[in-house]
Amino acid sequence: MSSSELDRLLADAEHLYRDLTFQSVRDWKRRTGGLAIGYMPVYVPREILHAQGCLPVGVLGGGEDLEIIRGDAFYQSYICHIPRSTIELGLNGALDCLDGMLFPATCDVIRNLSGMWRMQFPDKFVHYLDVPQDFDPQVGGTFYEHELQSIAAALAARGAKPLRDDALAASIAVFDTHRDAVEALYTLRREQPWKVPTHELYLLLRAGMLLPVEEHVPLLRRYRELVLADAARRPMDQARVLLTGSFCEQPPLGMIKTLERAGCYIVDDDFVPVHRWIRGRVARGGAPMRDLVGAFLESGVPSAIRYAEHGGKGDDVVARVRECGAEGVVFCAPSFCDPALLDQPMVVRAIERAGIPWTAFKYSENTGQFQVIREQAGTFADSIKLWSTV
């Protein structure tokens, strides 16, 4: 029966999600002998790594199961959780399988972490990936291209294949299919949220942090087929919400489930954003590197970590709400996450102007108590439900 295949598929994805030893990465390395390169949120151009024969490995902190013992020695209480659990993973050996780490320009915390990593793990390849906040192809574009070339060169010096145009073009094509597959699931969830519970979608996205893209695409497609065929998944009377703010430190699975149980259908979100960072396709028929840079400059999502002049952000959220037919917005940001929390009042302003109800709460990746969140989400769902039908 198909549901058991579905169950197995999900169990596998959950297993990957909970495996704090990165066994799948170790297996991949044994199989292929390639380099595994870790990267922190939010965005790195995986196409480059892929074209050089490396496995991009998303490192999204330690999640809810990791006990922090030494990581707290690195961070004060008022700093978000993800860097401490990442350090913990580094110290407990879990990340030994990585040949290097990329720290994209996400925020001051991740930026500083790059230097800490270099001091703590002097033998490993560490690169701080600066991304431009100037989106002029001549200015920011030139800088970014240079940055990408220098990563490619550094990786090659560490034993990766040198970056070649044809390989990069091929990698861009593979990731374009991946983007399509992810988008297809998001579309399905938007249309029939009962078919694609968000905690399942989330596990699938997370699997994509570890699996080679060639394996992840079929997984996404198979899941879609299975749930479409699963007649047991029937609609319930739930409120449709867009969830925003969780782009870096990831919420615990229990929190996503709590939201769903409290009566919300999440119909759009920004979990694991590397998958959906670039809207549409990257390949545009130019030189592959220029295409990749151009896509970043022109089609990158207006996330909190990207500079936007004059209110662009709020407008984008409003547009997304309309597009996914959400009845409300849930801001769900990591505690102490500067980019997300500084953005929030600006976005709130825009959605209030648009008359969209909203609610907000904070979490950390190891939050284990969801009572407050449940109550807030429940009240929010209650009010949408009780009043939308009157």
Partner: protein
Amino acid sequence: MRIEYCIGVDLGSTTTKAVILGADHAVLGRGITNSRSNYVVASQVAMGEALINTRFTRIRNQLGHAGVGPARCDQLLGSFERRFREQQYLCQLATLESTLHGYADRTRQDPAVHRALDAIVARMRSESAGLFAEGAARKSDFFRDLAGSRFHELSEQQKEARFDVLAGLFDKSILDVENSTEAVGTFSEHARAALQAQGTHAPELARAVDAAFGDELVQVQVVGTGYGRQKLPFPEKSIRSEILCHGLGAHAMYPHTRTVLDIGGQDTKAIQVDEQGIVTSFQMNDRCAAGCGRYLGYIADEMNLGLHELGPLAGQATRQVRINSTCTVFAGAELRERLSLGERREDILAGLHRAIVLRAMSLLARSGGVHEQFTFTGGVARNSEAVKALRKLVQENYGERTLNISTESIYTGALGAALFAWRAAERADVPEEVKA
């Protein structure tokens, strides 16, 4: 005999400890009481207890001189001390009784309340011998806890007056009792009564007690430390940082120690010391009760247990239940929830102990890790389960380490303070010593 001594007082948030050192820096006596609303009283009581304990030490010495063998000596002293404590308890109980009635009068309670109080106190009085019988397990060393738990049990059982009223009266009265130095009585008074109560003929004991009475105890210097040290009735130069005292105290007990963890009622400290007991780095966490001894105290209250019972009970766990709340109060609520969902008390407790130790682990990491040898002090070191969890986590994260724990570890800070007192006394010619 004239005996010179220095005394160190550690005014903790939960308990106040005093240690008396003779001129050879050997410990003569220790005293402990719970910290209370009046710091002056708390330190007086602790010092008084330490002096009493010093007398006991002297009695033991006298018995030794008189040729009494160690086994007999233990037996004599043990029963003498139990009787002594019972006298103290009865004395405090009497004060409590009159205070209770006083408050009942003032709040115009009806006669049934007085009758209920009489019945409860009478019952408690009748139980005192049992409470202090040989081998009896007591919930705590403090009158507040001993009397409190029994009072509440008896109040719930009894029919004449409402529980709320009785509990309210107790809460008021116990404060007064605690805050009076008289309520504990004096050494001589209790010693005599204890001798009498002991009944059995032990002339050697009576002689030793008399001799110990004759000693003239002379205080040379006093140093205070601890959470409340700024409030101690001592001159400023007699006050030392608790971190330094803990470092020095631990070093005195275990000269090879390099890392010290102290978990007290309100704060946790991780301290690194060098081969001379000098602190080289430290970390402390405070402001939030989660992860400190008070957390356990609170949980014990929630479960209606004594502090002494927590560890052993948790030791019987078969698995560890993860309690997610970081806040002590929420943890209390979560715990009730878990209990009602059918989790076992033991398992929940084991999880809680681990949670505390995990917090301490991160503090240790922050202070520079765990080095050989490792010493665990503070009230929580008395808790067997906390020790077990700590041992395991240290082993997992830092490898094999010698773990020093002493039954006297709660006195570490006071011991350090007393050593500082001797230093000051010995260097009295060096003016303007370390300014506190």
